[in-house]
């Protein structure tokens, strides 16, 4: 367990990332017909050093945008992102470049994030060259071989091109590239989606080993609750650009408080035959982030929603033990009203 007085590694405060969608240049100049996609709208959380923080939600809830905003791969609209106490949004380009050595990303789809014309070795060597960590070719070659072995591939794989690798192996190359600069922090964006169960298990084992070996901190983004529950110590559940609930994985799985979390957790198909669990099936679909509902964003699908829910936005409240919930229908002690 971490000491309380230590500052968190990453602190996200009131992060907002909007995308502007217009029909053409006129709408950009005059703001006419401009539509704002509220992809991430006022999200705050902290990530302690050495922990795995899971970010869960359905497609379009803004989880990937949060991950990308933290690394400034998309420019946030407002808020603060503190990394070791330093606000990343105030950094100059040069300072950002330095920061990128400390924080890396593993992208979901290896097919689109690995250049098909570059051999695996070149892909992994690229960050080393860009940041000038290793200057001499023999050093780079040794480092690439070492990285390939670290992620469970062979040093002979360095000359192969991405198409020659299977889905699971391609993920490993993505991981090796992220590790090349020996970062402290890795944003893992759906690193196991689209993989078979046995391959998923292998990748999860690898990521855990690497975390122990290199003292890594992960922001683990996934729509797969089983995976997130397995790997993360704490999780945040996102819905339509907002956090619905944050807390320790154990607490949230045993006692989900937010109606959305309850529905989400009851909806995941689980292997426990004979034990029929009560399912909460939500009505309707996720509304558009261009015109999110007023007040609580979940109210259009919530079976408990009242009049207050459409009027006021719920804030995250502490219900004890680092468990936060954003719902009007929850009292200070976490009981459902």
């Amino acid at each position: 367990m971490k000491k309380k007085d230590r500052a968190p590694l990453v602190e996200v405060q009131g992060l907002k990332t909007y995308f502007y969608k217009g029909k053409g240049i006129l709408s950009k100049v005059f703001g006419k017909g401009l539509r704002i996609v509220h992809a991430v709208d006022d999200v705050s959380f902290t990530i302690e050093e050495g922990e795995t923080f899971g970010l869960v939600g359905e497609s379009g809830c803004g989880k990937t945008t949060v991950g990308r905003s933290i690394l400034r791969l998309v420019e946030p609209t407002a808020g603060k992102i503190l990394f070791e106490g330093q606000n990343l949004l105030e950094l100059s380009k040069r300072e950002m470049q330095k920061f990128r050595r400390k924080a890396q990303i593993v992208i979901q789809d290896p097919r689109s994030s690995l250049n098909p014309r570059m051999a695996a070795g070149e892909i992994i060597a690229e960050p080393l060259r860009i940041h000038g960590v290793k200057k001499y070719e023999d050093e780079i070659e040794d480092e690439v071989a070492r990285l390939l072995e670290t992620v469970g591939l062979s040093s002979r794989d360095a000359d192969k091109y991405p198409h020659a690798f299977s889905g699971g192996q391609a993920r490993r190359i993505g991981v090796a590239r992220a590790l090349a600069l020996r970062p402290q922090f890795i944003v893992a964006d759906e690193p196991t989606s689209g993989l078979d169960v046995s391959i998923t298990a292998a990748i999860l084992g690898l990521m855990k080993d690497l975390q122990d070996e290199f003292k890594l901190t992960y922001l683990w983004i996934s729509h797969n609750l089983h995976v997130v529950k397995h790997i993360s110590g704490r999780i945040a559940i996102m819905y339509l650009g907002k956090t619905a609930e944050i807390g320790r994985t154990q607490d949230i799985s045993e006692n989900p408080i937010h109606p959305y979390t309850q529905a989400l957790f009851s909806a995941i198909p689980t292997v426990n035959p004979g034990q029929a669990t009560e399912k909460i099936t939500l009505k309707g679909e996720v509304p558009s982030p261009i015109h999110p509902p007023s007040g609580c964003r979940f109210r259009t699908r919530c079976w408990k929603a009242g009049e207050k829910c459409s009027r006021e936005k719920p804030e995250l409240i502490d219900v004890g033990g680092g468990h936060y919930v954003a719902c009007h229908l929850v009292s200070q002690d976490g009981a459902n009203l």
Binding site: V197, S198, H230, T270, V286
Partner: protein, 329 residues
């Protein structure tokens, strides 16, 4: 009368590829009883989709059923003429839902047109010549309502791109059920959907299956979905059914080494901080299958005999079938 709606016997399907013959389904036998949901589960490339396509006789040109028979209501589907398949089987007796509805729906036709097409093709004679269009539209609207689409009559004139992923899948389900099929083949129908939408679709499917009394061949890689929807489960590995049992015993007490290994790979909150089981090695290439039991290079219990000849799928007294020498006497 035989209570088995569909019986597949010794089915073998091969694809000719540039790397040689790939045996995607190898000597597989199974049956589907009236009103039952049979789950077919396995990792990618194990032949589960090929099996579904063979029943519909929709294999791509490179694929061929080289051996076996598929008896549906006593008739061997493999011997039927293409015209009979279209007129009497496809869409009428056996319907199919595939993973990505956007691939199955035609983007340039209205949802309503696509649903009424099925009716027009199969139920034309049952309609009176006067006001046929209205009857067709009413039939389609009623079906759309049944699958939970609001304002069905208006939605008939929408195109697939105006529907969300979940709604397109609902439209596909409407098309599948509109002729009241005896068998539904559902190939990964919820894989592309979010969890809460997946839950909606599963609930809808369960309700319709009950109401229409259809049997289902449910194909998926998701063990969780399988355990919730099926009555019996067949586990496939590299073209073979390796274990075949009622759902609860299969998950509570997996017998085949592959099923056992697969279930130990599943992550969850209980496994937090622990290591998940892994299966060493990888799925063999279908053009270079190992001799004997196909799972033997990855199996922890491998014996000499496993390398020599393939095990047979044997039915045990408990009603389950296992293809493994550990259980052969």
């Amino acid at each position: 009368m035989d209570e088995r709606l569909l019986r597949a016997r010794d089915l073998t399907v091969e694809y000719s590829t540039c790397r040689g013959i790939a045996r995607a389904v190898d000597n597989v036998s199974f049956d589907i009883r009236e009103g039952e949901v049979l789950g077919l589960v396995g990792e990618s490339g194990c032949g589960k989709t090929t099996l579904g396509l063979s029943v519909m006789r929709l294999l791509p040109r490179t694929g061929k059923v080289v051996q076996g028979e598929i008896l549906f209501k006593g008739r061997n589907l493999l011997n039927l003429a293409e015209r009979i398949m279209n007129k009497e089987i496809r869409g009428k007796e056996i319907a199919m839902i595939i993973q990505d509805p956007l691939h199955a729906l035609n983007p340039v036709f209205k949802i309503g047109t696509q649903i009424t097409d099925v009716l027009r093709f199969h139920k034309d004679r049952g309609l009176s010549p006067h006001g046929k269009g209205v009857q067709l539209r009413n039939g389609a609207a009623k079906m759309l309502e049944e699958v939970g689409i609001a304002d069905p009559a208006e939605r008939l004139t929408d195109y697939p791109f105006q529907f969300s992923g979940g709604m397109n899948q609902r439209a596909m389900i409407a098309m599948a059920f509109i002729c009241n099929p005896a068998l539904l083949i559902a190939d990964e129908p919820t894989t592309a959907l979010d969890v809460t939408i997946e839950a909606q679709i599963l609930e809808l499917l369960k309700g319709l299956v009950e109401r229409y009394g259809a049997s289902v061949l449910y194909i998926t890689h998701d063990l969780g979905v399988i355990s919730e929807i099926s009555d019996r489960v067949a586990v496939m590995y590299a073209g073979n059914i390796v274990e075949y049992a009622a759902t609860t015993p299969l998950f509570e007490d997996p017998r085949h080494p592959y099923t056992e290994a697969l279930l130990r790979c599943l992550p969850g909150v209980e496994t937090q901080g622990k290591r998940l089981g892994t299966i060493p090695g990888r799925v063999p290439e279908l053009t270079k299958l190992p001799k004997g039991c196909k799972f033997h290079p990855r199996c922890p219990y491998v014996k000499e005999i496993c390398k020599e000849r393939p095990p047979r799928l044997l039915e045990m007294a408990s009603g389950r079938s296992i293809a493994c020498f550990r259980y052969e006497r």
